[in-house]
């Protein structure tokens, strides 16, 4: 089986992979990174969202084989050296979570949005976050938390 090298949360990993294994299962079953969730496996819920080269990507629909040499960041790597990412802090300040299952995917999607767009409007947020399902209905608080982290102070 081929071995590929990719960097996950700053650590270089050598991983033996079969042809089509999605990155999601490499993260969960091989590397023990359980924060990234399985919600649907067909790319329609967003619970598996991580960053590849800084962009939000559905790990359930991304073959690990194609990622040789890439930098991957998961929810476990969002905080840097002990400090929460501003979004994580905003999530706590707004008490966003209910069951919490989708929130890693929400946070990773929001982080990619803010990295590209420092002051997203409500429409920008709607568009970027449309892909991520929250069955508990925390959308209003997610929007508030994104605005809070962006520092705009605006709320919908």
């Amino acid at each position: 089986m081929p071995v590929i090298s990719l960097t996950v949360n700053g650590t270089e990993e050598q991983i033996e992979i079969s042809d089509d294994i999605p990155l999601l299962w490499v993260l969960r079953d091989r590397l023990g990174l359980l924060g990234t969730k399985y919600g649907c496996g067909v790319g329609v819920c967003g619970s598996c969202t991580i960053h590849v080269e800084g962009r939000a990507v559905r790990s359930c629909m991304t073959a690990a084989a194609g990622l040789a040499g890439s930098r991957v960041v998961t929810i476990e790597g969002l905080a840097s050296s002990g400090d929460l990412h501003p979004l994580q802090q905003a999530w706590l300040d707004e008490d966003v979570s209910q069951c919490g299952f989708c929130q890693p995917g929400q946070l990773m999607t929001a982080a990619a949005l803010l990295a590209e767009n420092h002051q997203p409007s409500d429409e920008d947020i709607d568009e970027a976050m449309a892909e991520i399902v929250c069955r508990c209905g925390t959308y209003g608080r997610i929007r508030k938390a994104i605005h809070r982290a962006a520092g705009s102070g605006a709320s919908s």
């Binding site: 969730k37 496996g41 329609v44 929460l84 999530w91 209910q98 069951c99 929130q103 069955r135 959308y139």
Partner: protein, 729 residues
């Protein structure tokens, strides 16, 4: 929760160790206990150790409704603990914790008083211990954030320093509880305890559990209900790298909640290999007679049933007699579809079945059902079956039936290995316990002044009680109680139920029978208001103002309480003071269930193409005394999102005996851009706490449908609302 404290000895345990309670209520003493290391534990729910660490055991399971935060708040309040230092442990299934079934919006309702007593008892013992230590009277002492204080002298001592001495005291049978006016924790919006773990990805859900030697299982079932495995060729599956075994499974005889449990399990060394192995199976199914079942025929059968009188379940006065003298008679038919729960975390269970014991980790709402199934399958006695309950990625009632636990136990037993069974999203959508499809023929008789003299609600459809088959004695029992609780003051009220058996498994969906009944009753009442030319809020107020409070089973229907939430929602939404012009519109609904009353005012905008945008919800709730206000608001927001999905977007349909839908692709739910702004107004109350997880659900659909009517003049009587199917009024 009933805990008999007579016969309890004081407890002395090693710090951090759990406490075992035998059947007589006597504590099991640890051999090396000594006063210096002893901890105070007045019951199974609370321990204060010699370092002052306060630990609360949580006996209801978390699915986002906030019990892991609210329940310890109750204990901490009466204990006067330092909230920031509280530690919680999720209680495994155990007699000492009382009822652990989580659902029915019951957790705080059932545990509020008992947990207050828990905290107050420990506080009383700590006060006595301090009084003994200082040689003063208890009345001269106060407590604050984990310390006892003697104001006069300025002496202070921590709970930790007192724990050992307090543990030697007899446990008082009666303790006084705080005056709610003095609450410092209850009534405040404490942040969710699991928040930090959730946002850093550390929170452990069912599918995150790993146990030594664990293998992974994926289970292929017939998509036709009642279909059975005829043959399987596993040659290709066994060639898949990582696949270890292929095992036919049949659990359908174990329990009528395991009617989906027939098929083939693939065991592998990873989740992915198990899924791949399953795809490579070559299976022949005996689909059985249900393969002829189709949605259109089911609906047609219900429409036919609606023509005849059903079993009468409420009969005030004589509805038939009102028809002759009525100025107006209105009939409307409503249909509420099958609905799936579709939580983000699919069904899963991790199990280790050994000859001498069975250990289960499951995201499940009713761990007692999990254990019963395991006992039946393994033949082990209850004492040898351990159930640990994980966080749940949503529950909504789906995780009550522990069918997925039964399957995992079967597979672990057959494979001889600990396994984690993970359902795919397709499995989860297609092998559910759906909210039953129902038909409602609503008829009302009115006078020309708008007074309603007769109301008949004829409901037809399958029954949740018929999981075991068509020969169920009282199928109406599970379906019609909400309709029986019609709250409005009408002298002649008749409720009927026609049972039509459909083999599709049904189960409790958030708010259960109130969800479809709320839609139907609050829509039809609106139709009556329109026909009478009376404002919908005014119409309801008139019908509530002379209403009698009554009780059905344990539900109290209090029209005065409903009037108050309705008035609050109307005022806050500026219902009368700032009317909306088409194509915008407002709709109202007021409902009561699970110990609470909720009124919703929905605002919508409908564009020329008929696309509906729900822009705002103004919601008022009376749920008695509130433990955590922010959680109440969150449950209202979440209920709105949950119910909006059913109102506007998705339904489960049946073709050839199969559920058609497979994932959020074709059973879609509300997304970010579709979520309205929500304003929640909580009525301050000193009454006993009511439920919150379900009460905001039932009125959502009607509020939206009524708003769409106000905006367009078109009324939807089937959900989800399809703009092309709106009937011309």
């Amino acid at each position: 929760m009933e805990i008999d404290r007579r016969g309890f000895l004081q407890l002395a345990v090693m710090a951090g160790a759990g406490v075992a309670f035998g059947a007589t209520g006597c504590a099991v003493l640890k051999p090396q206990a000594s006063p210096a290391t002893a901890a105070l534990a007045p019951d199974a729910f609370l321990e204060i150790d010699s370092a002052g660490q306060v630990t609360v055991w949580i006996s209801r399971q978390e699915m986002g409704q906030g019990v892991r935060t609210a329940l310890p708040m109750i204990v901490a309040e009466e204990l006067d603990a330092d909230w920031s230092a509280i530690r919680i442990i999720q209680a495994p299934l155990g007699e000492q914790y009382g009822a652990q079934r989580t659902g029915g919006s019951l957790s705080i309702r059932e545990l509020f008083e008992p947990l207050r007593k828990t905290g107050a008892t420990a506080r009383a013992m700590l006060l006595q211990a301090a009084a003994d230590e200082w040689g003063v009277d208890v009345s001269t002492l106060t407590t604050e954030k984990g310390r006892v204080l003697h104001r006069e002298s300025g002496h202070e001592i921590t709970y930790g320093a007192l724990a050992g001495r307090a543990a030697m005291l007899p446990i008082p049978a009666d303790v006084s509880l705080k005056d709610p006016a003095g609450f410092r924790i209850i009534g405040r919006s404490m942040p969710r305890i699991d928040g930090p773990d959730i946002v850093t990805g550390k929170a452990e859900f069912g599918l995150d559990r790993k146990i030594p030697g664990m293998q992974y299982a994926s289970f292929e079932r017939c998509t036709v209900i009642g279909g059975r495995l005829r043959s399987v060729n596993s040659d290709q599956a066994m060639k898949i790298d990582g696949v270890r075994a292929v095992i036919p499974i049949d659990g359908t005889a174990i329990s009528h909640i395991m009617s989906w449990a027939n098929g083939v399990a693939v065991i592998a060394d990873s989740s992915w290999a198990a899924m791949k192995g399953r795809e490579a199976l070559d299976i022949e199914w005996d689909e059985g007679g249900n393969a002829r079942l189709n949605q259109n025929e089911i609906v047609a059968a219900l429409e036919e049933r609606a023509a005849s009188a059903g079993v009468v379940t409420r009969n005030d006065g004589d509805f038939e007699l009102t028809r002759a003298g009525a100025d107006r008679e209105i009939t409307s038919d409503y249909i509420a579809p099958y609905l799936s729960h579709s939580p983000l975390e699919t069904m899963n269970c991790t199990v280790d079945v050994r000859p001498d014991g069975c250990e289960i980790w499951a995201p499940c709402q009713f761990p007692n059902i999990a254990r019963t199934l395991a006992e039946r399958i393994t033949g082990l006695p209850p004492a040898q079956v351990q159930v640990h309950i994980t966080l749940m990625g949503g529950g909504f009632g789906r995780r009550i039936y522990a069918d997925f636990v039964g399957e995992a136990v079967l597979i672990s037993k057959a494979s001889g290995s600990p396994i984690q069974l993970l359902w795919s999203r397709e499995d989860d959508t297609r092998h559910g316990f759906y909210r039953p499809l129902s038909h409602h023929r609503m008829t009302a008789t009115l006078r020309s002044d708008g007074s309603v003299i007769g109301w008949r609600h004829r409901m037809s459809g399958p029954s949740r009680d018929a999981l075991s088959g068509p020969d169920v004695e009282t199928p109406e029992r599970s379906e019609v109680y909400a309709a029986n609780e019609f709250p409005y003051s009408v002298p002649n009220v008749r409720v009927e139920f026609n049972h039509h058996y459909v083999p599709i498994p049904c189960g409790p969906w958030r708010a259960v029978a109130y969800s479809q009944t709320g839609f139907v009753v609050e829509s039809f009442i609106d139709e009556l208001a329109t026909a009478s030319g009376i404002d919908p809020v005014t119409f309801r107020m008139r019908l509530l103002e002379n209403g009698q409070t009554f009780t059905n089973n344990e539900t109290v229907v209090d029209p005065a309480r409903m009037s108050r939430v309705l008035a609050l929602a109307a005022r806050e939404s500026e219902w009368f003071s700032r009317p909306l012009a088409r194509p915008r519109g407002r709709g109202v609904a007021v409902t009561t269930d699970h110990g609470a009353c909720v009124a919703h005012v929905a605002e919508v905008h409908v564009d020329p193409a008929g696309a509906i945008k729900v822009t705002r919800f103004v919601s008022a709730i009376d749920c008695g005394m509130v433990v955590n206000p922010d959680t109440v608001a969150a449950q209202v927001e979440g209920s709105i999102a949950f119910a909006l999905s059913a109102t506007l977007k998705s339904e489960i349909t049946i073709e050839k005996g199969r559920v058609v839908q497979s994932s959020y692709a074709d059973y879609d739910v509300i997304r970010m851009g579709e979520m309205p702004a929500v304003e929640v107004h909580i009525i301050p109350s000193g009454e006993a706490p009511g439920g919150v997880g379900e009460p905001p659900v039932p009125g959502v659909a009607a509020a939206v449908v009524n708003a769409v009517f106000a905006a367009t003049g078109k009324r939807a009587r089937r959900l989800p609302v399809r703009t092309d199917a709106l009937a011309m009024h």
